[in-house]
Amino acid sequence: MKNKRGWFAFPYVIWMALFVVIPIVIMAVYAFTAADPATGATQPTLGNFTGMGLYLSVFLRSFWLALLATLVCLLIGYPVSYWMAKEGPRFQRLAMALIMLPMWMNFLLRTYSWMSILENNGLLNQLFQNIGVIDLYNRIAPFFVDLHNVFARYFGGVETSFVPIYHFQMIGTPGAVVLGMVYNYLPFMILPIYSVIVKLDNSLIEAARDLGADGVRVFRRVIFPLSLPGILSGVTMVFVPSVSTFAISNLLGGGNQMMLGDLIELQFLGGAYNPHLGAAISMVMMVIVVVCMVVMNHFGEGEEQAVML
C-alpha cells in the first residue's frame, strides 16, 4: 500500500500550494508594502505595522467581546451537552438535529431576525412598552437619580438630571454584539463537547464511584478532564469566528462597535480603500489567533483533537 498511491496526494499538494500557501504569501507581501498616494507605486515598508497602535482599542474590543461570547457559549453549551448526553438515544438524535438545523439557514438570516427584535422600535421594546416596563423604569429611575444626587452633593461628584426614556437602547451596544455571537456560534460549542461526553466510557465513572468519589468529585476529576478536548475545540470554533466577525458587529453593533473584521472589511470593500493596511491587520490577527490556539492546545496535549460530530 505504501507509496503506491502517494501520487493521489500530488494534485492536492499543488492545490494547497495554490489556494492556501500562495494567497497567504501574497497577503504578507501586501502587508509589508504601501502604495505611494501620489504615484500609486508600491514600495516596501513596515509602516503598516508600526502605525497599528492607533487601532489598539479595536484589537482590545474584539478580543474582549469574543472572549465574553466564548465564555457565555461555554457556560450554556457545557451543561446542555452534559445533560443531553444523559438522555435517551432518540432524544439525543433529535436534539442534535435541532442544534444543526439553524446552521442550514444562513447565519445572516439569524442575525437579521435579532435586528428586528432589538431595534428601538423593535419587538422587545414594544413588548416592554405594552407590559409597562418602560413606564415602571421611568417611575423608579428618578428615585435613584435623586439618591445619586444626594450622595453627589455630600461626598462630591457630578449631579445628573433624569431623562425619561421611550425605549431601552439595545441595538448598537456591545451586549447586542455578544448576543449575536452567542446565538450564532453556540452550536459550534455544543457539538464538539457533546461528541466527547457521549463517548465517555461509563466504566470509568463507575470505577470512580466504587472508589468512593461523590458526584462533584467524579465530575471534577473524571468527566471534566476527559471532556477537555471537546471544550478546547469548542472554544476555538467559537472564538475564532467571533473575534473576526464583521457582519454581526455591523448589523447589531450599528457600526459603533468596530471590531477587527470591520476594520479589515473597511480597507478592502468599505469606505477607506487601503488593502496594504488591511492585509497587515489580517496578518497580525492571524498570528495572535494562532499563538492563542497553540498555547491552548498545549493544555490539551496528548489528547486526540475532538472532531466535530
Binding site: K2, A9, F10, R90, W104, N106, Y112, G254
Partner: protein, 669 residues
C-alpha cells in the same frame, strides 16, 4: 453514563432550544404579516410569498447559493477523499507536514481566508491580463479575454478550497481505522487496484465521506464572509443579498425566503429521522435491513457488469458537469447584457423591465453603498460593471486614474435634453465621459417629534442632548464635509489642521455616544420607523421617507445655515467595459425625458433633464390627481438661492484622500 437527568437539566435544555428557535419562529410569523413591518402585526397575508417569486434578485441569489454549495460539496468530497487516500499512503513525517497546511483554512478566521484568496485572484488576473495581451499580440488564431473579474468561478474555487480540509478531516480517521492488509489481501486474490478501491476501501471509509460531505455542505451554505470577498459584484449568494439589503430596506420577502429554507431543511431532517427510526425497528426485529441507496449503488458498481456501469456513470457524471457549466455560461452568453451599478433605492425598477422588453438586453443591476465603497470595489478587482453612477468628485478621481472610457455621444441623442446647468461641470469640463443622472442637496433630516427645537445647524449632529439618536452618514466625504461646514471651513479644504479639527468634532461626539450608528441606506428604516431623531442624508431620500413614515413620526428637512453640499451623480462607462454598445443604449434610455419623469417620481431626486424637470409638477398632478406641494418641489429641485449657499465637492489631492481614509478608519476605534 448514568441515565438520570435532574428536572433542572431538562428545563435548561428546553430554555436553550427556546433561545435558538424563538428568533427563527418570529422570522416565520412575520413572513405572514400583511404590512411591511417586522415588529407590528397587521394581519395574515401571503403577499410576501407572492412577491418573493417575482423578486428576481432574491430568487437568483437563492439559486446561486444552492448551486455553489452543491457543486462545491461534490467537488470537495471527491477531491478530499482522493487526497486523504493519497496522504495516507505517504510516510508519516510528510503526511503530518501536509496535514498542518491542510489545517490552515480551518484554523484561520474566515475573513483572513477570504481576503487572502481575494488578493490571490486579483494578482492572478493582473498576471493573466499581461499574458493575454502578449499572447493576443503574437498570434491571431485564438483571442484570449484580457479582463477577468471575480465571479461565480472564483467563489466556487474558494468554497472548494475551504471545504476540502473538512472532508479530509472526516475521511482520515476512517482510513486510519482501516486494516491496511485488506487492500493487499484483495489484490492478492486477484483484484485490480480499481476493484480493490471500489470494493474494499470505499465501503470502509463511506461513513467518513458522507459526514465529510454533510459538513462541507453545511459550511458552504452557512458561509457569508468568504463568498463576500471572492464573488465579486455580479454574483451574489443569498447571504450577500441579505447583507446588502440590511444596508437599505429589508422587505419581508427575506422572511418568506427564510421560512421556505427552514421548512425544507426541517422536512429533510424529519424524513431522515423517520427513516432511521424505521431502520432501527427493523433491526430490533432482526430482519434483514434493506440496503441503503448508497450501498445498492456500490454493490451494483462492484459486480462484474459494474465495470461498464461504472464507466457509463463516470461518463454521465462528466457529461452532466459539462452540461451544467455550459448551461451556466451559455445562459449568460446568449443574451446581450449590461452590468449597471448604482445606489440603493435609486431607480424606478419598472424602467429596467421596460428597457429589457424594448431592447432584449438583460440588465444586471447592482448597487454599491457609497462612492468610497464603489471605489474600493473597483480597485479590488471585484467589479465587472459597464455603467456606474458615481458622484461628481468621484468621477474626477476615476478620470484621474484613467478608469473611465469616453462616451460616444452620437449614440446618446437624449443628451440634448440635459440642462445647460449640468453640462461641462468642473468634474468633466469638456463633457466627454458623463451623462448626468440626478442632482440634489445634502441636508439635515430630523423627526420633529423627537427634538425639542428645530435644528438649524450642523451642530445638532454633535449635540449631547440627542445622544443615541443621531445617525452619522457612513462615508468619509459627507461626514467630514458636514463637520467642516459647521466649523466654517470649505468642504474642499486641503488644510490638514482644518480636516483634523473636523474629525476631532466627529470623533468626540462618537466617544460621547451621540451617534446611534453609521449608516447609509439603513437611514430609511431608522428614520421612517422613529428609531432615530436626526440624520444627514440626501434631499430626494428625505422625500421618499415621507411616503413611508410610521405613525407618530414627523420628518422634516433643512439645509443648515452654514450651507451644504450639492451634488450631481452621472452615468459613466468603465474602461474596457465588456458591453460598451449595450451601455450606450442604457445611458440613452435613462437620459430620456420619459425615464427621467418616472425616476423623479419614484426616487424623488431632481432630474438634470430640462424637459423632465419642468414637466414634473404637471406629471405629478396627472398621476395622482392632486397638486404637487411646491415646498416639496423646492426641496427636490433646490432653487438658485439655495444652491448659492451650497458647495460642490471637488476631487481632493491624493495626500488629502489618504488622510481622509486614515481618519475614517480611526473613527469608532
Amino acid at each position: 453514563m448514568k441515565k438520570t437527568n435532574p428536572i433542572g437539566g431538562r428545563i435548561f435544555i428546553g430554555l436553550t432550544f427556546l433561545f435558538l428557535y424563538l428568533p427563527i419562529f418570529l422570522l416565520i410569523v412575520f413572513s405572514f404579516n400583511a404590512g411591511d413591518s417586522s415588529a407590528v402585526w397587521r394581519g395574515f397575508s401571503l403577499e410576501w410569498y407572492a412577491a418573493l417569486f417575482h423578486n428576481r434578485l432574491i430568487m437568483e441569489s437563492l439559486y446561486t447559493t444552492l448551486l455553489v454549495s452543491l457543486l462545491a460539496t461534490a467537488i470537495a468530497t471527491a477531491a478530499g477523499t482522493f487526497a486523504a487516500i493519497g496522504l495516507y499512503s505517504l510516510s508519516r513525517r510528510r503526511r503530518d507536514a501536509l496535514l498542518v497546511v491542510n489545517d490552515i483554512p480551518m484554523m484561520n478566521a474566515d475573513i483572513v481566508t477570504g481576503v487572502s484568496l481575494c488578493l490571490f485572484f486579483v494578482a492572478f488576473f493582473q498576471g493573466w491580463g499581461t499574458f493575454a495581451q502578449w499572447f493576443n499580440g503574437v498570434q491571431s488564431a485564438v483571442e484570449l479575454p484580457v479582463r477577468l473579474t471575480l465571479g461565480f468561478t472564483t467563489m466556487l474555487l474558494a468554497h472548494v478550497a475551504f471545504n476540502i480540509p473538512y472532508v479530509i478531516l472526516n475521511v482520515a480517521p476512517k482510513l486510519r481505522q482501516m486494516d491496511k492488509n485488506l487492500v493487499d489481501a484483495a489484490q492478492d486474490l486477484g483484484c485490480t487496484w480499481m476493484q480493490a478501491f471500489w470494493k474494499v476501501i470505499l465501503p470502509e471509509i463511506k461513513p467518513g465521506i458522507v459526514s465529510g460531505a454533510l459538513i462541507a455542505f453545511t459550511m458552504s451554505i452557512d458561509d457569508f464572509v468568504i463568498s463576500y470577498f471572492t464573488a465579486g459584484s455580479s454574483t451574489s449568494t443569498l447571504a450577500m443579498r441579505i447583507y446588502s439589503m440590511t444596508k437599505k430596506r429589508i422587505t419581508p420577502e427575506v422572511n418568506a425566503v427564510s421560512t421556505l429554507l427552514f421548512l425544507s431543511v426541517l422536512a429533510l431532517l424529519v424524513l431522515n429521522n423517520v427513516r432511521e427510526i424505521r431502520q432501527e425497528r427493523r433491526a430490533d426485529r432482526q430482519e434483514v435491513r434493506e440496503p441503503s441507496l448508497m450501498e445498492k449503488l456500490s454493490m451494483r458498481l462492484s459486480s462484474p457488469a459494474g465495470k461498464w456501469v461504472r464507466r457509463g456513470l463516470t461518463a454521465a457524471m462528466a457529461c452532466g458537469f459539462v452540461v451544467v457549466v455550459a448551461l451556466l455560461t451559455g445562459a449568460t452568453a446568449s443574451q446581450p447584457v449590461v452590468n449597471v451599478c448604482s445606489w440603493g433605492e435609486y431607480i424606478d425598477e419598472e424602467l429596467i423591465t421596460q428597457f429589457e422588453d424594448a431592447t432584449g438586453i438583460r440588465v444586471n443591476y447592482q448597487t454599491a453603498e457609497s462612492n468610497e465603497a464603489l471605489y474600493s470595489l473597483l480597485k479590488s478587482g471585484g467589479a465587472d460593471y459597464d455603467v456606474i453612477v458615481p458622484s461628481d468628485y468621484m468621477i474626477s478621481q476615476l478620470m484621474e486614474e484613467g478608469m473611465l472610457e469616453e462616451l460616444d455621444y452620437s449614440r446618446i441623442p437624449n443628451f440634448q435634453y440635459i440642462d445647460e446647468r449640468f453640462r461641462n461641470l468642473p468634474y468633466d469640463p469638456e463633457n466627454k465621459y458623463t451623462v448626468p443622472y440626478s442632482w440634489g442637496t445634502l441636508g439635515l433630516i430630523y423627526n420633529a417629534n423627537m427634538v425639542e427645537e428645530e435644528p438649524h445647524s450642523w451642530g445638532a449632529l454633535y449635540d449631547d442632548q440627542y445622544a443615541g439618536g443621531v445617525l452619522l452618514i457612513n462615508n468619509s466625504r459627507d461626514a467630514l464635509g458636514a463637520a467642516l461646514l459647521h466649523l466654517g471651513y470649505s468642504v474642499n479644504t486641503t488644510d490638514e489642521g482644518e480636516i483634523r479639527e473636523a474629525f476631532a468634532l466627529i470623533a468626540g461626539a462618537s466617544r460621547r455616544g451621540v451617534f446611534q450608528g453609521k449608516v447609509m441606506d439603513q437611514v430609511f428604516q431608522k428614520m421612517e420607523g422613529g428609531n432615530a431623531a436626526i440624520a444627514t442624508y440626501y434631499a430626494g431620500d428625505y422625500l421618499s421617507m415621507l411616503d413611508n413614515q410610521a405613525d407618530g413620526v414627523d420628518l422634516r428637512y433643512v439645509i443648515p445655515e452654514e450651507g451644504a453640499n450639492w451634488f450631481v451623480d452621472a452615468m459613466c462607462v468603465l474602461k474596457d467595459a465588456p458591453h460598451y454598445d449595450e451601455a450606450m443604449e442604457w445611458i440613452n434610455f435613462i437620459a430620456s425625458t420619459k425615464a427621467n419623469l418616472a425616476n423623479m417620481d419614484y426616487i424623488w431626486y431632481a432630474s438634470p433633464n430640462a424637459e423632465a424637470l419642468e414637466q414634473y409638477p404637471a406629471y405629478y398632478e396627472e398621476l395622482y390627481g392632486e397638486e404637487l406641494d411646491p415646498e416639496l418641489y423646492k426641496i427636490m429641485a433646490a432653487p438658485a438661492e439655495v444652491l448659492e449657499r451650497c458647495e460642490m465637492y471637488l476631487v481632493l489631492p491624493p495626500a488629502t484622500r489618504a488622510l481622509y481614509n486614515e481618519l475614517w478608519v480611526q473613527l469608532g476605534t
